[in-house]
């Protein structure tokens, strides 16, 4: 880790946690503002022991993710908000201090609003997804911006309510 590695690692953590807050709030633009527009690549992946394959469930560039979230109002959706509990496990800063990689654990709860019967289900929180964020960053002026996020899910069972970037 370079001389200023501690501060850079802190900047990386700050960006990861701010991204979790932005995604929890459906503040898509705030999330995209944490990503480098020309480089960012987003993926949701999972390994399926059932078919013995690494799978891609969703992927896109910054522009493609922007298009996707801009189109969300035109689509029907479950209205239950998601809450991410993110824990940054490792941050590795490159020798020149210009890039970094991080691995975080993420547990996502669905705070039921629609549910199956909202009269009964609303207000309850259910475990929704578990996985890890494998992130890459570029560091400029002490700020870490995402250049890549691979959300590696443990789930292959995904019921309704999975309409958004995770």
């Amino acid at each position: 880790m370079p001389k200023n590695g501690y501060e850079t690692a802190q900047a990386v953590r700050d960006t990861i946690y701010r991204a979790s807050l932005a995604l929890d709030d459906f503040s898509w633009q705030d999330w995209l503002d944490l990503c480098a527009p020309d480089e960012f690549h987003y993926m949701i992946t999972s390994f399926s022991p059932e078919i013995g394959k690494n799978m891609i469930y969703l992927q896109g560039s910054w522009k493609e993710m922007k298009l996707m979230v801009d189109m969300l109002p035109k689509h029907n959706t479950d209205h239950s908000p998601l809450h991410r509990h993110t824990s940054v496990y490792t941050v590795d800063v490159s020798a020149d201090g210009k890039t970094a990689e991080a691995v975080s654990s993420v547990v996502i709860y669905q705070n039921m609003l629609d549910g199956i019967n909202s009269h009964i289900d609303s207000g309850e929180s259910r475990l929704f997804l578990v996985g890890k964020y494998h992130d890459q960053f570029k560091i400029e002026d002490g700020v870490a911006k995402f250049t890549k996020r691979d959300t590696r899910l443990g789930n292959r069972r995904l019921d309704k309510g999975s309409h958004y970037p995770i």
Partner: protein
């Protein structure tokens, strides 16, 4: 008409008998048990794709009507199916969803299907080849030659899907069961090997037939912004809903305009063999299996009913085995954009059937479910569901609109025939 009082609400709809059904067929425990016994234990089920067990000694496990099933590829390259049940004390033999028997297990040898409980071992043809301390325990009264697995009817067909039937003597062969509806895609699916690239499942609190209904009727395209902007044109509304024997339906094709959805692209360059660009075929097989080809990717849905108000749906996505890495990625992106768990359409379909499940839970008042749209058997005609429920009535011997009465051909069907 203004909002109705209770007797108006419960009255028979002013439609032909086959144009509505009683919602108890979606919620009644006894009917669910009838369906398991009378339908699912006797029909051909596409349990997986052969590319899920590509090498000799690969296996895959599944279940049909509550019966655990194991699929194996033998050293002779044959794919076989057995009950995944040890003939000794009924232990589930293989507990993993997939794997290879090339490696030995703690209780058994390589190249054997081993029951971990008492180390009984079987070969890939289901022969019992080892009973631990056989002579000491059974003397000459019982031997491994009498302890083979329960074999099941199994065929690889229609694009490499593995079909299993629990019935030793099915009423019709697989070809006679599904050959006619698959005719529209037979050349396409059999031209070259396919390969699976996507798997996920959903467990939804709804009846399995409601999922199949949604796959069979396209009137719900009003729910899908994507389908409205890429589809609604004269060619779309002219698509045929064609009924086939055994309750199957095929929805005819047209050219989808994917570019009309912001950010999406034509799929023409990766069309499946023998198809013009951007075609969309749908094959719905009774009682709940769906093959959906949108130009560059094939989707297969398999339902496993878990109760009158609970279903597991397995979603598979397939491309061509010959795909380059770049082609495969593009196919996956096309597949995911609509059908992936984070895609535009599938999620909306799941919300739709979950909502139906909410209003038709066991114990709720029966409802009149309308299947009465008549549009010359084109895309928004509900003839697919009407055709399905006549087949359903015959299998369970119940009237779909009066399920506590025995089946008889309903008014609209009789008139049509």
């Amino acid at each position: 008409m203004p909002a109705r009082n209770h007797s108006q609400w419960m009255a028979k709809p002013p439609l032909a008998d086959d144009e509505w059904i009683d919602s108890r067929i979606y919620s009644d425990q006894e009917i669910f048990e009838d369906e398991q016994e009378k339908i699912f234990k006797h029909v051909w089920v596409p349990v997986c794709h052969e590319s899920e067990l590509p090498k000799a000694y690969d296996f895959r496990t599944t279940s049909i009507a509550g019966e655990p099933v194991i699929i194996c590829r033998g050293p002779d390259d044959e794919v076989r199916a057995f009950l995944n049940v040890c003939p000794h004390r009924g232990m589930l033999i293989e507990r993993r969803p997939s794997g290879s028997f090339l490696e030995g297990q703690p209780s058994g040898n390589p190249k054997r299907i081993t029951c971990m409980f008492h180390a009984w071992q079987f070969d890939m043809k289901g022969n019992c080849v080892y009973v631990a301390r056989e002579k000491e325990g059974y003397q000459d009264r019982f031997c491994k030659e009498q302890a083979g697995l329960r074999r099941l009817r199994c065929e690889v067909k229609f694009g490499g899907f593995v079909w299993v039937n629990l019935d030793d003597k099915p009423s019709v062969s697989l070809e006679d069961w599904a050959g006619a509806p698959f005719e529209c895609l037979r050349k396409t699916l059999d031209e070259e090997p396919l390969e699976i690239f996507h798997y996920h499942k959903a467990v939804i609190d709804t009846n399995y037939k409601l999922w199949h209904d949604t796959n069979s009727e396209f009137y719900h395209d009003f729910m899908h912004y994507h389908n409205r902007v890429t589809g609604f044109n004269d060619a779309y509304f002219a698509r045929n809903n064609e009924a086939f024997p055994h309750g199957h339906v095929v929805v005819g094709t047209f050219e989808v305009n994917y570019e009309n959805y912001e950010g999406f692209e034509s799929r023409g360059e990766l069309s499946f063999p023998h198809l013009p660009p951007n075609q969309w075929y749908m094959i719905d097989l009774f009682p709940g299996f769906n093959f959906n080809l949108r130009g560059s990717a094939l989707r297969c849905d398999t339902v496993t009913p878990l109760g009158p108000d609970k279903v597991m749906i397995e979603f598979r996505g397939l491309g061509l085995k010959s795909d380059t890495e770049e082609e495969r990625i593009t196919r996956i992106n096309h597949h995911n954009s609509i059908w992936g768990p984070f895609g535009r359409n599938l999620h909306e379909d799941l919300i739709g059937v979950a909502g139906q499940g909410t209003t038709m839970r066991p114990g709720t008042e029966e409802r009149r479910i309308l299947h009465g749209r008549q549009e010359n058997q084109t895309i928004h005609d509900e003839n697919g569901m009407r055709h399905y429920y006549e087949e359903w009535g015959r299998w369970v011997d119940r009237s779909p609109s009066q399920p506590d009465q025995a089946y008889s051909v309903r008014q609209g069907v009789a008139a049509a025939e």
